[in-house]
Each structure stands twice: as structure tokens, then as C-alpha cells.
Amino acid sequence: MKQKLVIIGNGMAPGRMLEELFEQAPGLYDVVIFNAEPRVNYDRIMLSPVLSGEKLYEDIVIHGDDWYARHGVTLHKGAKVTGIDRAAKTVTSANGVTESYDKLVIATGSLPFIIPVPGHALPGVLAYRDLDDVEKMLDATRRGGRAIVIGAGLLGLEAAYGLKRQGMDVTVIHIMPTIMERQLDPPAAYLLEKALNDRGIEIITKANTKRIVGEDKVEGIELEDGRVIEGTIVVMAVGIRPAAQLAKEAGVVTNRGIVVDDGMMTSDGSIYALGECAEHRGVCYGLVAPLYESAKTLADRLIGGASEYRGSVVNTKLKVTGINLFSAGDFAEGEDREEIVLRDATAGVYKRLVLKDNRIVGAVLYGETADGAWFFDMIKRGTDISEMRDTLIFGQAYQGGSPLDPTAAVAALPDDAEICGCNGVCKSKIVGTITAKGLTSLDDVRAHTKASASCGSCTGLVEQLMVLTLGDSYNPSAVQPMCTCTELGHDDVRRLIVAKGLKTIPAVMQELEWKTSCGCAKCRPALNYYLVCDWPDEYADDYQSRFINERVHANIQKDGTYSVVPRMWGGVTNAGELRAIADVVDKFEIPMVKVTGGQRIDLLGIHKEDLPAVWADLGKAGFVSGQAYAKGLRTVKTCVGTDWCRFGTQDSTGLGIRLEKFMWGSWTPAKLKLAVSGCPRNCAEATCKDIGVICVDSGYEIHFAGAAGLDIKGTEVLGLVATEDDALEHIVALAQMYREQGRYLERIYKWAKRVGLDEIRRQIMGDAEKRKGYFDRFVFSQTFAQVDPWSERVSGKDKHEFKPMAVVGMAEAAE
């Protein structure tokens, strides 16, 4: 008598297995299939095109009813198996069918994971797994409104795209900072997010769903941060779980999935597991390619063969029309790994290959994926690529060629992009003048267009435009690159950030063709500053790109403790403040209290965990952070001035405090220190500060560009102004000019030397309109910057910074 093969689940994996089996040994088994879904085997992968309307269900059927008839297969549709009796070797379904087996294959697939937030059981909360889900979604699209998709993985994004195509508004909520983070590195994720936004899909990252809102059907969701998004359906696409419960209840060994050996056999010799429900060598797969490979092995085993499945490398493609995306293998970085990155900002292409021992171990391709299969093949084969390493990234068809063009970024700028900010000169003006007048030198270009004739920070770009127009006959002066991640210098990067409207670090790295995937400790803090400065209202500060002091708002000390310096406006304090400091010192047993060179008090040796509590106590006494750690406004030293001093000519203390209150919280390229002295005796040492004021009878003499650290240099005079208001406006405008032009870590005296003292005087003292512009931009930026970082952290921001992740060991646990 024929052996009987029973299969639980009628998905893609057993479908493929049966094709192999019938081809090699037709008629070997009597086959019986139970399927919980009331239908035949269809191509689950193609549900997304069905959802988007690009295909019909009939188009995606793999095995029609005639196929089952032809092979003598009994298919129980809509029959969910509820029990396996291993002793009796039978399975039974919910609708009362019992079948005995000689061999059993469990192929139950996966269950979509539903986050158990309040409201998750409301009508309108859908999963995305089978045709029924698609039909429910299509039903919702007929009613219109907004669909909310939770999870920006492969499934979530395909669902979002389909729903959008069907005319709904779509918002995708994702918990991680970048989308599809399992398959894509951040640069590729950035490009994808941009492309989806262009298709009208709104994506909110770093968002955690708190609850689903609605009385008796979905009305929207509420996020942890309190935001409410209205919507008529919620599609949860946050992950899948192997459907291993049935096997587990039958006493078959399971872990995350049903554990199988290299012959796909479970702990029971008559039972096999196949597809997403199986766990092979610790891995549960969620894509069909590996399942098909193991299906082949299982078919061979059922025939009596001995083939072995050894696991697979997987690759991913996103099925969203018009978006080309490919990722495969393991693209994590590592010391024994090298990466080759190719970025073409104009064409929106990003390619990254990760190599180990001269072999490709991972690949991410965006925009141009034609070579995906070729790379994937080499990953699987472990092909040695040393011979073609230099040209590898250009792909299979590559036939020799030139190195990357450094002028590409400038070439891609629109004609009206502003190149010279000081004189308002745009790209077409420069290119046009070079051609029309036959200019060949930088000086000529400066003379005829005024570009690069003022502060000079656009020189690099102007020179690139000359190369672009004149070809190799023009030899530009060498630019010092920011770091080894880019060829561009600081000034070029800054100007391009503005010209191209780049607003995130990944955007800068992509559009300016960074050579590494995540930058280094040199460029990341610099980019973060430039973005904070240029887009104060839009840029979300990236704390992980800040040096530790600016990340935790205290100064790290040699032993890993921190020092805390509260602001003492203008160096003035009182008994209440001093008492509060004394109390904090006692309470936290702070080992050292010191008067600083900046006229305030430093509390040294505080443990990181204590910082928020110390700040809380200081905050109650009215103290805010002194930003003694910041590339930003530090101190404003003052002397006693007209209030007390017999020589004082103006209220130097008052002006100092006014300046500090106006300017605190601002980020600058390097630290910025001010001082105001009441007379030329200069007791506040104003003439060696970044910006200083010497009060005189006729008004206020503004000084700048002094140094008293690594270099010693007296200040230069900016000019004399009559009133305190004038002094404030000029000083603030000067600070803003420095903020906009200074290179990261460049103190004001170095910037001034580069740009020229006369140019600065011309813009700040001589050009009222320019000055007003600088002043207004500073004021605007302050509306976002003047938030005391200490009180923010006392109220819970960045909590993780100040607590150990875990405490291990009995000694500590006993506390």
C-alpha cells in the first residue's frame, strides 16, 4: 500500500516541495493537505501588487484546483488543524476531519505580530498576511480617509504604497530612526524615505504607538509623545512569528520555530517542518528563496535521498513600482571588513559593498540594482574579487573608466543656486561671466563677479565652477578636506548644505558623496553644528554626533567623573545662590569647589549618575547650565563698572549680564567668550577675549579676535558705538557672522584672519542692512536654542545617559 503524506498548511513552501516530489517520484505518496485558508496555493509575495491594483487574485494563483486533481491530492480547504496525535499518527482539524499519516509535514508559516496596545482588537486593526487581509484593506480604500501603517519594514512599506495607490492618505509609523533598518543601512534608508515621501507617503520615525483610538472602530492612534493621528484603518506590520504552537503542543521540540536538522526533520522521525515555521541552525527565514532551497532537500528526503540543507544567504527587494532597492548578506561594518561606497547624488544612486578577506559579504544597492544578482551570486559563491577590486562597484558591465568626478556636486546645482553669500552671486552669473569675458584666473572672477571677493568661504566652490567651465586648463588651489570621509573642505560643505537645502546628516553624506557610510568622530560633530546653525527650526540635533561634554552637558574629567559649572550671569552672585551651592556640595559630597578663570564656580568630581539630581537642586535655586562644555557661548566676564568703581564710565556689569542673557544657549563654531570692562584699565581682561567691550565716556568700544589660550593675541577694534543697544546689536551680529562662516573648531581670531578684519568691519559696522540680517537670524535661532539643558534632563530627557543599563552581580544587587 502507498505511504500517506499529510501536510499542514498550503503555502508557498510545501507547494514547491510537492512540485519537486511529483517530478521525481510521481505517485510515491497519497498526499493530503489541510489549509486554514479557504483556497488553493497562491503567490503570497504578489499580494502587494493585488493591493495596489496592479494585479488580480487570479493572476497570482500558483496551483489551481485542476493541479490538485491531476496529482490526486486531497485538499481540505478552510480546515485548520487543531491537534496532532503523535502516538496514533493522526491529525484533526477544527471542522472535524481526521487523517492518519505515515509522514507529516508541518508548514504552518508565520503569524503576524499584533502589538498588544490598548485598542488593538478594534475593528479596523488589520494584519498583512493573506488574501483576506488584502480584501479588508481594499474594502477600507473604498471608504477613503487615512490609513495608518505601523512598521516601516518590507511589508509595511508595500502596504503603504498599495493603499496610497488606491487613493488613501497614508501615514507610516516606525519605532526606529531609519526605515527598513534590517535590510538597509542609514544612507540607503534615507534615499528610500525621500522617494516614498515624494510619492505622498508620510513617514514618522522614532515613534512609538501608545494606543489605538476609537469607540467601536478605529479612529486613529496616539503616539507615546502625545501626538494623535486620525485614520480609518491601522495596518500592523511590525513583524512575524513562526507558527510553531501546534507542533509545540504535540511535544515536538520548538525554540522560536520548529527545530529541524539539515534533513528538515523535527525531533520526531516521522514529522518534518518546512517554511517559515521551521528553525534551521538557529535561523527562521522570512523570504521564499531559502524556503525553496529547503523544500528541495525535503522532497529528496521523502524519496529516500540524503541531501542536506545548509542554510542560505538572503536578499531583499522592495516591490514598490519605480523604486529600485536591493540588499543582501551582512552589511555590518567591522575591522576585518572593508567597504566600497559609490554615491551619485544626481542620479540618486547609492551602492555599498562590504568585503571580508577579498570576498563580498554584503551589498546594499539603491537606485541602480541591475548588478544585484551578480553581487548576490558572488556572495553565495564566496568569489575572490581581488582581481577586479578597483572596478567592482561599477558593476558587471564595467569596461574601464575614470575615477569619480569631484565637481559632480557643483555641476548638479541649479543655475540660480547662490554660491557667494556675501555678495549674492549665483551659479549662472559666475559661469556666464567666465564664458562671456574669457576669464581664466580666480582674481579675474572675483573682480568681475564679486564672487569670493568678500569673506572667501565660497572660494572652493567658485574654483570648482571654473574647472567645470574651463576644463582641466584651470588648476584650483588645493582644499584641505574636512576629514578622510570626503574630498570637500569645510567651506564647501557649508555652502552646499545651504545651497542644496540639506537638513540631516545622512542627507549631507549622500548628496555630497561621502566615502564612508556613517562618517567619523571628526566630521560628524562638524556636520551637526553646521546643520544646527543653518536650520535652527528644522534640524533635529543628533546627540550621538556630539562630543560627550555636549551630550551630557557637563565636563568629563580625567577619572571619568564630571564637573558642573552653573551660570553666574556676568560673574555676579548672592548669598542665596552661594548657600544653594554649599548645600549641593554637602549633599553630594562634591570633592572640589573652585572659582574658575571665567568668574564663576566649578563643582568637580561628580558621578555621572548624580548629575540630574545635582542639577535639580541647583535648578531650584534658579541656576541654569553655564555651558562650560559647549562650543557655544561660555562666559561674559565683567568688572564692577559705574555701580561701584570710581573710574567706571558705563554700566559694564549690566551690559555683560544683558549680553549673557541674550546670547546664552547659542552654539558657535568654537567656544565664544566675552568680557566687558568699565574703562580702559580693563579689569575684565576684555582685550584678549573673542569679543570684548571697553567702555569709554563716549560709548562702547567693541573689540574682537583676541586670544589668551594656546595663542596670545590682543584684540582688534571693530568700532565705537554710542549706546548700549547699539553695542548689543553689533556684538550679536558679529557673533552670527562668525557662526555662519567659521569652520568647526575655528576660534574667532582664526576666522577673522582668514576672512579679513576689514571685511568684517565693512559688514558689521558699515552695512546696516547686513548687520540687521545677521542680528535677526541670531534672534530667530535663539528661540530654539534657549532651553536650559539641565532642566530638560531633570524632567527626564535622555534618561538613559545617566543610568547604567544594568547592574550585574550579587554585591550590587543587595543595595
Binding site: 519594514g153 518590507l154 511589508l155 519605532i175 526606529m176 530612526p177 533598518e181 534590517r182 535590510q183 543601512d185 542609514p186 513583524g239 512575524i240 522560536r256 538557529g282 535561523v283 527562521c284 527565514y285 522570512g286 523570504l287 538572503v314 531583499t316 551582512d330 552589511f331 555590518a332 561594518e333 567591522g334 575591522e335 576585518d336 564612508t516 557610510s517 556613517c518 562618517g519 567619523c520 568622530a521 560628524r524 560633530p525 546627540y543 550621538q544 554626533s545 556630539r546 562630543f547 560627550i548 561634554n549 551630557v552 568629563i556 580625567k558 577619572d559 571619568g560 538613559h800 547604567p804 543599563m805 544594568a806 547592574v807 550585574v808 552581580g809 550579587m810 554585591a811 550590587e812 543587595a814
Partner: protein, 130 residues
């Protein structure tokens, strides 16, 4: 989609004995991307790092130069730059990169579906408890 192979570290062998024990320390989401957190143990602080592409590493929180707390540094690629004097340390090997010399002791770490555990020496835990 569950496509990413789970990284087991190189320490799977400790599971069964050798005086080592896997101790849960939290989830990968407790650590900021391109960031680090500390774990306190009787033998000292351990720094646990998470890279931009979700790899995790653990090592003693002591720079080989002058004992700077590496957990406070900037994480880039699979390296961290020490906050005190900018030595760059490989998270994978614990070795100083570039011209510098020195090595930090790395700690086996395991990532199972986001749940992190480190291997600690059970014997010394017992000693510490006494």
C-alpha cells in the same frame, strides 16, 4: 520580515560551562544607535556599544591609554573615539587603531532578537558576593 541572521558572538561555547554565564542586560533599544551604555559589575564597568547598523559589542569601560571611559566616546563605524585624548579603539578587537598601541579586554555579548546578554565569570561573581 525576519531576515537578519542572529549574531551569536563568538562565545556560544560558554553557554554550557567553563565558569562563564550569560547574564541578560536589557534590550538593544536601551542603547542609542551609534551610542553606548554601561553595565556595572563587581569587576568594574563594562561598556556596551550599538553601531549604526545594529551590531552590539561589549568591552571594559577603560581606555588602554589613561583609563578614559570609552562608553562616553563617539561611536563611528565599528570604532569608538575615547573622550579623553581621542584614541580610536576597534569595537571588534578592543585594539587601538592607527599609530596608537594598546588593547581593551572585550566581553562576549549575545544578541537574541534584540535581547542582549553578556558573558560574565560566575566564579568572580560569587567571590564578590562574599
Amino acid at each position: 520580515m525576519e531576515t537578519k541572521t542572529i549574531r551569536e558572538g563568538d562565545a556560544a561555547g560558554f553557554e554550557s560551562g567553563f565558569g562563564m554565564n550569560w547574564v541578560d542586560i536589557g534590550t538593544i533599544h536601551d542603547i542609542p544607535l551609534r551610542g553606548a551604555r554601561c553595565v556595572r559589575t563587581p569587576q568594574g564597568r563594562i561598556a556596551v556599544f550599538r553601531t549604526a547598523d545594529d551590531q552590539v559589542f561589549a568591552m571594559e569601560d577603560r581606555c588602554p591609554h589613561k583609563a578614559g571611559p570609552l562608553s562616553q566616546g563617539i561611536v563611528h563605524g565599528t570604532s569608538v573615539t575615547c573622550p579623553l585624548h581621542n584614541m580610536v579603539i576597534s569595537l571588534e578587537t578592543g585594539k587601538a587603531l592607527g599609530a596608537d598601541e594598546g588593547e581593551v579586554r572585550t566581553i562576549p555579548i549575545r544578541n537574541r532578537d534584540g535581547l542582549l546578554s553578556i558573558a560574565v565569570d560566575t566564579l568572580s561573581l560569587l567571590v564578590a558576593a562574599e
